[in-house]
Amino acid sequence: MDFLKTLTIATSGLRAQAGRMRIISENIANADSTPRGPNADPYRRKIPTFRSELDRTLDAQVVELGKVKTDSSAFRLKYEPGHPAADSNGNVKYPNVNSLVEMMDMREAQRSYEANVNVITATRRMIMRTIDILKT
């Protein structure tokens, strides 16, 4: 039954986008997580990766959330001498999270999620039409 396979593929897309959303929300929530001490590093931005994998039972490329990588760009430095995590120069490291970029990613994940939901809706409608042949 090809339609059921279609639904499974679209569901794999939904799952991947939901996982991406989870990582984005993690980044946004930790946008201001300061380090524990003067020499420690703050929260490092995480990047979700996607990879397509051949599902042999479906004979199709389903999408999966790959390894979560970390962003290696530099941390933001803020001059706050009184902060408990400030180094000898009075600078505090803040996470390399840019809320604007995260918001953008969030919108993109949302659009992709909606696209997968639309595929499911269309497929469902097609299944219903097939069943309707019986009803006449």
């Binding site: 090809d2 397509s52 199709a60 992709s112 595929v119 097609m126």
Partner: protein
């Protein structure tokens, strides 16, 4: 002679099978809309001058061998008889992904409409037979 051997019904069935297979390929494209280095695929359009395809849409795939008569027939890997091809590429994102989500959604909608047209025609054809039988 089964009901699906009637030429018009068998042609419509091929069309429905094709729409079903295409829906799967499109779902694949949408699910992988954010996967790096993914190129979209599509089915080759259905041609009615392809006699074996029209005669029997269900090409027997690889099935399990039965070595004793009491064995149950296994459900094998059914191979789609329709040719896959790479969809034309309009734009490639920096990540190497060539899926255009809007385009794919258009195709999903078109495919759904084609399917509905075919099921409507199928119902009408069945009604013709019912009329001929005189039991309406």
């Amino acid at each position: 002679m089964g009901i699906s051997d009637i030429p018009i019904l068998s042609m419509l069935r091929t069309r429905l099978d094709w729409s079903q297979a295409r829906q799967r390929v499109l779902a694949d494209n949408v699910a992988n809309a954010d996967t790096p280095h993914f190129r979209g695929r599509d089915l080759a359009p259905l041609k009615f001058d392809d006699p074996p395809l029209i005669a029997s849409a269900a090409v027997p795939g690889i099935t399990l061998t039965r070595t004793a008569s009491s064995h149950m027939e296994g459900v094998g890997l059914s191979q789609s008889p329709f040719a896959n091809k790479n969809a034309p590429v309009y734009e490639v994102r920096p990540g190497g992904n060539a899926i255009n989500l809007e385009e794919e959604m258009m195709k999903v909608a078109t495919n759904q409409m084609d399917f509905q047209a075919a099921t409507a025609l199928y119902t009408r054809s069945l009604n013709l037979i019912k009329t001929a039988l005189g039991k309406r």
